[in-house]
Symmetry: C2
Subunit: 266 residues, 2 copies
C-alpha cells in the first residue's frame, strides 16, 4: 500500500468519498463504499471485488497494520484528520475507515448457477427492498455457508453502503446475481436439480421436519406481503412454528432459522 496524507477535502484524489451519504441514493457506476475495519478486511481478502483506495483517520492507521498488509502494494491509502474526514463524508464519521471498491460487470443468474457445486444451498429473494434486511440475510447466508444469493428485480442493492455494513462484509463474500423473471428462474433451478422451498407463515410443512437434499433453494419474501401467491402455488411451502397470538418474525430472523436448518456447517 501507499500512504498519502491529504489535508484538502476537495482534493480530487478522494473525490469518490465526497458526500457519500447523499450519493448513496443515486448509485455510483460500478463502485461501492465499504466502511469499518471488518468490512475492509473482507474486501481485501475476498476475491470478488477490487479495492480502489482506502480513506482512514490518522489515529486509526496504527490499528490497521495487519489488515492493510493484505492490500496490493499500489493500493492508495489516504490518511486524513478527523476534521477533514467529516468534511469529506458530509457527516461525522466516527468509524474512521472507508474504502472504495469496484464491481465487475454483474454476473447473470444463469452463469452463477452453472458455477455452483454439486451440493449447494442457495437463497432466492423476492421483493426484499430494505437494506437492513438484505444486509442481515447476506450475513446469515455467509454464516451458514450458502453458496449464492439470487434476487428478483424488486430487491435492493446489496452493495449499498448500509447493506454492506449490516452484512459485516458478507455482501462482498457471498456470490449473488439478479434474475428478471421469477417463474423462469424457478424452472431453471428445477432443471438444475434443486429442491425448492418457499418460507411462508402458512407453509404446509414445519421446517423442522424437512430433510436437506443435495441442492436446496430457499425462497424468502417480504414481511408484510410475503411471497407472491403464484409462486407459493408452485413450490413446496415450509413454515417456522410460532405462537398463534404473535406469529410475527422479521425476515432476517426467519432466514437465520431456515439457513441454520439447511446448513451443513461443522
Amino acid at each position: 500500500m501507499t500512504l498519502i496524507h491529504i489535508a484538502d477535502p476537495n482534493d480530487p484524489r478522494i473525490g469518490a468519498y465526497l458526500d457519500i451519504k447523499e450519493r448513496d441514493l443515486t448509485g455510483r457506476q460500478g463502485r461501492f463504499i465499504a466502511e469499518g475495519k471488518v468490512v475492509l478486511d473482507v474486501l481485501l481478502t475476498a476475491q470478488r471485488f477490487r479495492a480502489e483506495s482506502v480513506l482512514v483517520l490518522e489515529n486509526r492507521l496504527a490499528g490497521l497494520g495487519g489488515i492493510l498488509a493484505k492490500a496490493p502494494p499500489d493500493l492508495p491509502v489516504y490518511v486524513v484528520s478527523g476534521e477533514t474526514m467529516d468534511k469529506i463524508a458530509g457527516f461525522h464519521m466516527h468509524r474512521g475507515i472507508l474504502a472504495v471498491g469496484s464491481r465487475h460487470a454483474p454476473q447473470t443468474a444463469a452463469a452463477l448457477l452453472e458455477e455452483l457445486p454439486a451440493g449447494a444451498l442457495v437463497v432466492v429473494l423476492v421483493g426484499i427492498a430494505n437494506h437492513d434486511n438484505i444486509g442481515s440475510i447476506f450475513r446469515n447466508a455467509a454464516a451458514f455457508g450458502a453458496d449464492a444469493v439470487f434476487m428478483d428485480p424488486t430487491c435492493c442493492d446489496p452493495l449499498y453502503r448500509k447493506a454492506i455494513r449490516v452484512s459485516v462484509g458478507a455482501a462482498l463474500k457471498v456470490p449473488f446475481a439478479s434474475f428478471e423473471d421469477t417463474a423462469a428462474f424457478t424452472r431453471e433451478l428445477a432443471r438444475h436439480g434443486y429442491d425448492q422451498f418457499a418460507l411462508s407463515p402458512a407453509g404446509a410443512t414445519d421446517i423442522r421436519t424437512v430433510r436437506r437434499g443435495r441442492r436446496v433453494a430457499l425462497y424468502l419474501g417480504t414481511e408484510g406481503e410475503g411471497l407472491p401467491k403464484d409462486l407459493l402455488d408452485k413450490l413446496a411451502t415450509v413454515r417456522i412454528a410460532m405462537r398463534r397470538d404473535f406469529d410475527s418474525l422479521n425476515v432476517a430472523a426467519a432466514s437465520a432459522i431456515a439457513l441454520h436448518h439447511f446448513s451443513e456447517s461443522e
Copy 2:
C-alpha cells in the same frame, strides 16, 4: 374513547408527545411512547401497561376503528393535522399514530420468577445495550413463546421508543424484569430448577443436540465481547454451528435460532 381535535402544538393536553425524539434520551418517568398501528393494538390488548392517550393524524383515524374499539371509553384520542403532528413530534412523523403508555412500578426479577409456570422458557440478557437488538430479541421471544426476559443492569430499556417499535409491540407483551447481580440471579434460577444454557460461539455443545427440559433459561450476551468468562465457566455452553471462515451472527439472529430450538410452539 373520546375524540379531541387539537390545532395548537403547544396545547398542554398533548405535552407528553412534545419533542419525543429528544426526550427519548432522557427518560420519561414511567411513561413510554408506542408508535404505529400494530404496536397500539398490542398496547390496548396486552394487560401489562396502561394507555394514557393516543395521538393520531386525522387521515389515519378511519383505519383505526377496529383497534380503538378495544380502548376504554375514557381514553383521550387526540386528532391532529399532519402539520401539527410534525410540530409536536419535532420531526416528520409519517406513521401518524402515537400513544403514551405508562408502566407500573417495575416488578423485581425474584417476583417475576415466582409467577412463571412449571414449564417455562426464559431469556437472560447480559450487556445488550443496543435498542435494535433488544427490540428484535423481544420480538423473537414473543414469537417463540418465551415466558419472560430478564436483564442485567447494563442492558438498555426495552420501553425505549425504538425498541418497542422494532419489537412490533412484543416489549409490551413479554414480561420482563431486571436483576442487579448476575451470579446471584444464576443461583436463583438454579434453585427454581432451570436448566441454564449460555449461547457462545465457542460453546461446548451444538445447540441442535440439546434436549429441552421443563424449565430452560437461555443466556445471550453482546456480539463483540460475548458473555463474561466467569458466567461461561459456571453454565452449560451451547453454540450455533457456523462456517469457520465467517462465524459472525447478530445476537438477534442467534436468539431466533436458539428460541426456535427451545420453543414448544405448535
